[in-house]
Amino acid sequence: MDNQMSNPVVIMLINMTIVFAVLFLLSLFIRVIHFIDPTKPRTKKKTHPTAAPAKPKKAAPAKAAEPAAPVVAPGISGETVAAIAGALAAYGVGFSQIKAIRPAERRSWAGAARIRGLRNDR
């Protein structure tokens, strides 16, 4: 036994096996925690972020759905749509994944515009 403990290859193999085994057990633990998690959303399959990209792949044969253009709010020009689609494409979002393009209803933007307007008045 002592002889084997002085063999570097034996030490290496035993230790690597133990490290993999312990981390494998830990990965099982993580899966169990996720499985028993009482707080996870019940509608997980519909809202699951990782499940979402998988669906279009399964639905890929139904090509009629793919070219569906996003819903564009009135008043937004084609150039604006192209610019937004281009910017999103740079982050890996395809045109078919864009569902709608509409102005964000944020009070902060309106507030910013108001402040800018006041400053311009001066």
Binding site: M5, N15, F20, L23, I33, K40
Partner: protein, 378 residues
Amino acid sequence: MEIFSAFAISLQSVWLDSGFSALTWGNVAMIIVGIFLLYMAIGKEYEPLLLTPIAFGCIMANFPCTGFLEEPGVMQVINYGIKFEIFPPLIFLGVGAMTDFGPLLANPNTLFLGAAAQFGVFISLAGAMLLGFTAQEASAIGIIGGADGPTAIYMASKMAPNLLGAIAVAAYSYMSLVPLIQPPIMKALTTQKEREVKMDQLRNVTHFEKMVFPVASAILISLLLPPVAALISMLMLGNLFRESGVTDRLSDTSQNALCNIVTIFLATGTGMTMNAEDFLTVQTLMIIGLGLLAFAGGTAAGVILGKIMCRLSGWKINPLIGSAGVSAVPMAARVSQVVGQKANPSNFLLMHAMGPNVAGVIGTAVAAGTMLAMLGAK
């Protein structure tokens, strides 16, 4: 005449009591090494928070006649903190409070990348044994490849206290050189197509999962590997402070004030082990060489397992995240992000790489635990 004689005798006694009379060339060389490390820390900003106190400790360790380690005082307290493994677990408390295990919980498969990167530890261990180091010394040297300073110090103080200074310096030096060491290995082992692989967004991890994980993993690993129970338990306690949502003050103290205080003591104490007699040896050069081997081996093994997982998952895993398994949080993950983005500007691998990155911290602690259990402390 008698006045001159008395004056000369006084001057002589002052000279003999001073450090200058006992200063050796080795001390001078080590003080120069300390100044060089200070330059690297402050001038080049290589891990300045750690390297600055290490470098200053190195300079202090080479002041002769100080009695730092013989007489009771703050220096001896710092030395005891290292000798009796008090500081590394406290650092782990802070590391735990700073760590988000979310990416790991979202994709537990990344644990295997953290395990694969430990190959560097063991290849370096084998190399050290072939070079004539004892099994205990070799295990302490190998852990440099884990790119985890506190674990390296923990192992060295248990297995090879005589090599502590060289091991700590090698570990922290290579950690700061991760952005230079890893990219060539990552590029050499992957194709352009593999580097361009985009990964799906990670799932949301619930508060429940983030709270249960530190408790469950502390129980599991501490029961399996009692020698590293102190490290793992403190890591997970710190993480529980962070995730529980009701211990914000403890979390804040762990990751800021306490961590900074202990870092000062740990790093200064590590530097103070770098006295000329122990450091200026051929062994130190060997340790630095073996440390590089460990880093390169760990990076390569992580990337190779990443390639295998890439194929098995149907090109859903970018192999570049495998290199982040060598801990060095979060620098190794940042390297994966930078190399991935160079291949494909729309690639965002940072969060995906954080999974193997934090898995590497656990993996290195587990590797240390297995070696402590198998080879025993000195």
